[in-house]
């Protein structure tokens, strides 16, 4: 549904004519083919709900997993198909009456999101890590999210072997929102997409099997702050609408760079009023920066990452960032290019504090999940450096970085799910001491991920960092590069700390054990490692992909 359609309807209604309105009514056109990825996922999600309603409890898990995986695979296939038809390059276009853009960045990011979701869903479906309770295999989600922790209801639910299979449709909804988010071509779609992928995430945070109090707390914090930020976003949208009289990116863009001359005098007060534009833009930016977890809008990140069930954390950390940065890119490049020079200093500031802040605070973290949260903040800073580059090279470098980062992140959190003791996952760093002695392979894999985060050459992290910094330097942001380099040095410190802990310190007697996962999680981790090494050694192909996809349609 698009606002412009309605607009035309209104104007016609405004005329005084005696003709029957029906034949003047032009039905909106929807290019279903081009929206296929989104539609597939949403359809599957709806189906998932029905499954919850009608399929017997025993069969739900399998059905849901099957359904989800198939849906995501199909959606990915659709994305590939679209790309193959050249929608990513020559015949990129606006679909659904200008609501959604089908172009390079959109497809690239959708592809990334789908793949990442796929591997994340594997970790959702993992049921071998926790010891079976009452003969039922259990995953990392609460038996019955509604039941009070520690209550008889909960015990009963566990005994009955309930599982929260709703997570799968929820994840699918969220994915659907994420697919639309970077493709959104008008502010309304942007807002809706944001909510569509945020709301399920709030819930997913709340349904951990272990440490439920923390899980719920995380959900509350995430939800309240998320709603708060989306309120800002919405207000920004309202202001921009007031400024331009339209919410379509192209329309606003035109007004911003002043290609619209005749202004209805009645509107002179608002139309083209820069105050509206600037405030609105700033508020929307804030909404998006909240999602990418940039300082000072980052404070939800550590708590939520720590509290949420680890598979969800991985999914959230990876996919949300991809989607949000995609939207941010489109907003900056399509709507506000005329504003680059006004926003640049602000963005510089945000990027710098984000890089440094994330890296510095991470130094003293003691919980692996919080550590990774802060590292994700620092990385958001690096990516911002690429965003600011304001050049096609900048776009493609960001796309590449996102792809790299998301897989490593999912892999890392997957490893975190393996290290467990009596209380579930042993996320306190002290527990990780001497892991390298106990199970060298797990430790080695995690070390690879950490090195990639740290951007050590021959890992994908380095390729990404190099691409982004190079773009930034080309775009005249050498200052950001220097800061980035410094904060990388700082960041190296805490990644190294973890490696030291794993390999150089003696294992504790009551140390955690490393669970042997099912092929599902193994796949997730394997994919992570593979991507890390391949993109580290021979990133050329994907760089090409990213640079081909690096053009926004207007």
């Amino acid at each position: 549904m698009s606002a412009t359609a309605v607009h035309s309807l209104w104007t016609m209604a405004g005329e005084v004519t005696s003709a029957a309105p029906g034949d003047r009514f032009t039905a909106p056109t929807i290019e279903y083919a081009q929206l296929a990825p989104v539609l597939i996922v949403i359809g599957a999600a709806v189906l998932g709900i029905l499954v919850e309603a009608f399929v017997p409890r025993r069969a739900r898990y399998t059905t849901q997993v099957f359904l989800t995986v198939v849906a995501i695979a199909a959606a990915f296939a659709a994305v590939v198909g679209l790309a193959a038809d050249g929608y990513a390059t020559k015949n990129a276009q606006i679909a659904a009456m200008g609501a959604v853009a089908v172009d390079g960045p959109a497809l690239f990011l959708q592809g990334t999101i789908l793949l990442v979701s796929m591997v994340s869903v594997f970790t959702f479906a993992e049921r071998r890590l926790d010891p079976a309770s009452h003969g039922n295999r259990v995953d990392s989600f609460a038996a019955q999210a509604g039941s009070v922790p520690g209550s008889d209801g909960e015990k009963a639910a566990v005994k009955a072997g309930f599982t929260t299979t709703e997570v799968f449709p929820l994840a699918l909804f969220s994915v659907a929102g994420m697919l639309v988010f970077p493709a959104a071509n008008d502010l309304l779609t942007l807002f809706i997409a944001l909510e569509v992928f945020s709301l399920p995430l709030y819930l997913l945070c709340a349904v951990a099997r272990r440490k439920r109090l923390m899980s719920q707390e995380a959900a509350v914090k995430y939800f309240l702050l998320g709603a708060f930020s989306s309120a800002f976003l919405l207000f920004g949208i309202a202001l921009l609408y007031g400024y331009a009289g339209t919410v379509s990116y192209a329309g606003i863009g035109d007004v911003v760079d002043g290609s619209v001359q005749q202004i209805d005098p009645a509107l002179a007060g608002t139309m083209g009023n820069d105050a509206l534009l600037l405030i609105g833009a700033a508020m929307i930016l804030m909404g998006l920066l909240f999602k990418v977890g940039a300082v000072p809008f980052h404070m939800w990140t550590p708590d939520v990452y720590q509290g949420a069930p680890t598979p969800v954390t991985g999914f959230m950390a990876a996919a949300t960032k991809v989607a949000a940065f995609g939207a941010l890119l489109r907003l900056l490049y399509v709507v506000l290019p005329g504003l680059t020079w006004d926003l640049r200093p602000v963005m510089w500031g945000v990027a710098i504090v984000t890089m440094l802040g994330g890296a510095i605070v991470a130094i003293t973290q003691t919980d692996i999940k919080r550590l990774l949260a802060y590292s994700s903040i620092a990385h958001a800073g690096f990516i911002l450096a690429g965003v600011i580059a304001a050049s096609p090279e900048g776009i493609s470098s960001v796309l590449f970085y996102l792809a790299v980062y998301s897989f490593v992140t999912v892999g890392a959190f997957a490893v975190v799910t393996l290290v467990r003791d009596a209380g579930g996952e042993a996320t306190h760093l002290s527990k990780w001491a001497g892991l390298g002695r106990r199970s060298p392979l797990t430790a080695a894999v995690f070390a690879v991920f950490l090195l990639s985060f740290a951007g050590i050459p021959l890992t994908s992290g380095f390729s990404g960092k190099f691409a982004v910094f190079k773009a930034a330097a080309d775009g005249g942001a050498s200052g950001l590069v220097v800061v980035g380099v410094i904060s990388s040095a700082i960041a190296a410190f805490f990644y190294i700390r973890v490696i030291v802990l794993m390999f150089f310190s003696e294992p504790k007697a009551d140390g955690p054990t490393v669970a042997v996962p099912s092929p599902l999680t193994m796949t997730t981790i394997a994919v992570g490692v593979a991507v890390t090494l391949v993109l580290g050694l021979a990133p050329q192909y994907f760089l090409d992909l990213a640079s081909q996809a690096g053009v926004f349609v207007r």
């Binding site: 914090k221 105050a275 700033a282 508020m283 404070m299």
Partner: protein, 631 residues
């Protein structure tokens, strides 16, 4: 013929390699291998010598180019030898005395289970010393220069289990290193000045450069010479070097190595001729050391230390002579050779005495040994007469010539130098007489040692006495042989050049004066040590005596200034490195951690405060954007 030159070095080098790598299986034959190879080297030297005599004075120099050592752009360092009369003189001295001392050592070191290694080191020394004197460029000379340093280090510290020996060895090497610094700087200066450091080109091109450059080079060479030849201010190591086995003291620290400095200066004559100031410095050093060594020699009760002082003083003579320029070069070398004979002889004698006295070195515990060791007494006595310059013996001629040359320098300078040399001669006579009297005359003063062994003085075995006898011959006749018809002068002139100068006083006068001071010196010594019995425990003595016993406090100075100062410096630097240099880095890391800790506090877990930060952020964002537009 010139292809033999390399063999001179090869023989002892081979010996060293075989003996040091050979391992225990060679223990029984080791000393013979060493001696034979030393002798072989001497034979080769002799052959070359006869061949050299066969040729005219001007084309006697031989040259052998082995290979290009360090070929680098604009930098040519060759391994090439040059054998002219000067080198030949040294070759004969080194190999000759060297061989004798090898033979001597067979007996002297008989009871040392590491004798094989001792001979290995001796051969190593011979090889290095020969390289030093037959090198045709300063860099190769430098190789020999440090080579002998190494050998001396190994031999002084041969009894490594004695901390004193190890320390003495280290000290010798370090002091020499200071000198070597001078040599290397001199070589660099030559390179930047002449673009080469081969004797030929450098010494010919001295005319093309400024006197300043030459002076600089000269002074650096002098520094080197001071190190190697134990001249003030770098003399401190020689006394301690007596920790080494006596044959070592005889060969290295009396006859050959310590004279390397003289060789260096004489060899570089052309440079010094061009740099009067440098020459003056040389002369001064020589004069000072001459007296310094003599005075120290007077005060020591340790026979070897006394002889060491004398060596220092005698080399002072040589350096002084060398500093006089063309007038003195020849006589410097001549005194060097004669001194090689009699000082080696004296040391071997001292060794023989110690051998007979359970390695007792304190002369006050000797006395009246002439009866027990006639041969030693005889040879030692001849050496004694030679060194004090008794008419007709070697020392007489060589030293007399130097004294004359000193006067012949002319001017006040000449007078001063002349009188210094005369004074030196007097003191020499005094302390040598003292040694003689304390050791061989008077009553026996030795007592049973700690374990109650009464030493049984006895004559040393043939292997030791024969070399002593041979050397005694040398110390008696060498001087005369050289001087008759100025043989030595004519022999060396082509290399060093010679100039008779104009003595303000006639030669006869000088000789007479020398005789007078000689008699005085002997007389005083006899009065002090000959007439009345000598106390076993040294009396406190005058201030000068006490100072002299402590090497005129020069060691104390070194200890306080260099050693202590150095220790403090290093200790404080270690502290600086740890606290400052390292501290800065650790400090940054720590402060980073502290900052992190403080920032962490912001993450206080309250959703509302998070909201505050978001709200504030938003406000800043908006404000900044508006501000940007405003400006």
């Amino acid at each position: 013929m010139e292809n033999l030159i390399a063999l001179l070095v090869a023989a002892p080098l081979l010996g060293a390699a075989v003996l040091l790598c050979g391992g225990r299986r060679l223990d029984r034959a080791g000393h013979w291998i060493g001696t034979v190879l030393a002798a072989a080297s001497f034979v080769i030297g002799a052959v070359l010598f006869t061949d050299m005599l066969g040729r005219g004075a001007e084309d006697r120099a031989l040259h052998q180019h082995l290979y290009s050592w360090i070929p680098v752009e604009g930098f040519q360092a060759d391994v090439a030898f040059q054998l002219d009369q000067l080198s030949m003189t040294f070759v004969l001295l080194i190999t000759g005395v060297g061989t004798l001392i090898h033979i001597y050592s067979i007996g002297y070191m008989e009871h040392d289970e590491r004798r094989r290694r001792f001979f290995g080191y001796l051969n190593l020394f011979l090889a290095a010393m020969l390289i030093l004197v037959i090198a045709d460029n300063y860099l190769l000379l430098y190789v020999g220069w440090e080579g002998v340093g190494l050998a001396s280090y190994l031999l002084i510290g041969f009894w490594q289990h004695k901390p004193s020996a190890a320390t003495a060895a280290k000290k010798a090497f370090l002091v020499n290193r200071v000198g070597d610094m001078g040599l290397s700087i001199a070589i660099m200066l030559m390179f930047t000045t002449f673009g080469t450091f081969a004797f030929g080109p450098v010494l010919e091109a001295t005319g093309d450069t400024s006197e300043g450059k030459l002076t600089a080079i000269g002074l650096m060479l002098l520094l080197a010479a001071c190190g190697k030849s134990a001249q003030v201010p770098l003399q401190s190591w020689l006394g301690d070097a007596m920790e080494g086995p006596t044959p070592v003291s005889a060969l290295i620290h009396a006859a050959t190595m310590v004279t390397a400095g003289v060789y260096l200066i004489v060899r570089s004559g052309a440079i010094f001729n061009g740099a009067p100031d440098a020459q003056l410095a040389v002369v001064v050093v020589g004069a000072v050391t001459l007296l310094f060594g003599a005075i120290v020699g007077c005060a020591k009760d340790d026979i070897k230390k006394a002889l060491a002082g004398s060596t220092m003083s005698q080399i002072g003579y040589m350096i002084l002579a060398a500093g006089l320029g063309p007038i003195g070069y020849v006589f410097a070398i001549m005194h060097l050779v004669t001194h090689g004979f009699f000082k080696a002889g004296l040391f071997l004698g001292a060794g023989s005495v110690m051998h007979g006295m359970n390695d007792e070195v304190d002369m006050r515990k000797y006395g009246g040994l002439r009866k027990f060791m006639p041969v030693t007494f005889l040879t030692f006595g001849l050496g004694y007469l030679a060194i004090i310059g008794f008419p007709g013996l070697s020392g007489f001629f060589s030293k007399d010539m130097i004294i004359e040359a000193a006067f012949a320098k002319g001017g006040t300078e000449g007078w001063i130098l002349g009188s210094v040399t005369l004074l030196g001669a007097a003191i020499t006579a005094f302390y040598m007489t003292r040694v003689m009297l304390l050791t061989f005359f008077g009553e026996k003063r030795w007592q049973p040692d700690a374990e109650g062994h009464e030493p049984h003085p006895h004559e040393s075995p043939k292997s030791m006495t024969i070399p002593m006898i041979v050397l005694a011959f040398g110390s008696v006749f060498a001087g005369g042989f050289f001087s008759i018809g100025d043989r030595f002068v004519h022999w060396l002139e082509p290399v060093t050049g010679h100039d008779h100068g104009h003595a303000p006083v006639s030669a006869t006068t000088v000789t007479a004066a020398t005789m007078v001071v000689l008699v005085i010196g002997v007389a005083v010594a006899w009065v002090m040590y000959g007439r009345k019995p000598v106390p076993v425990v040294a009396p406190r003595g005058s201030l000068l005596t006490r100072a002299a016993r402590r090497d005129l406090l020069q060691d104390d100075f070194n200890h306080v200034v260099l050693v202590r100062g150095g220790e403090h410096l290093t200790r404080s630097l270690v502290y600086v490195d740890h606290t400052l240099v390292d501290g800065v880095v650790n400090g940054t890391a720590a402060s980073m951690g502290g900052l992190s800790g403080r920032l962490r506090k912001l993450q206080n877990g309250y959703a509302r405060s998070y909201a505050v930060s978001m709200f504030g952020g938003a406000a800043v964002l908006i404000a900044a954007t508006l501000l940007m537009r405003a400006v």
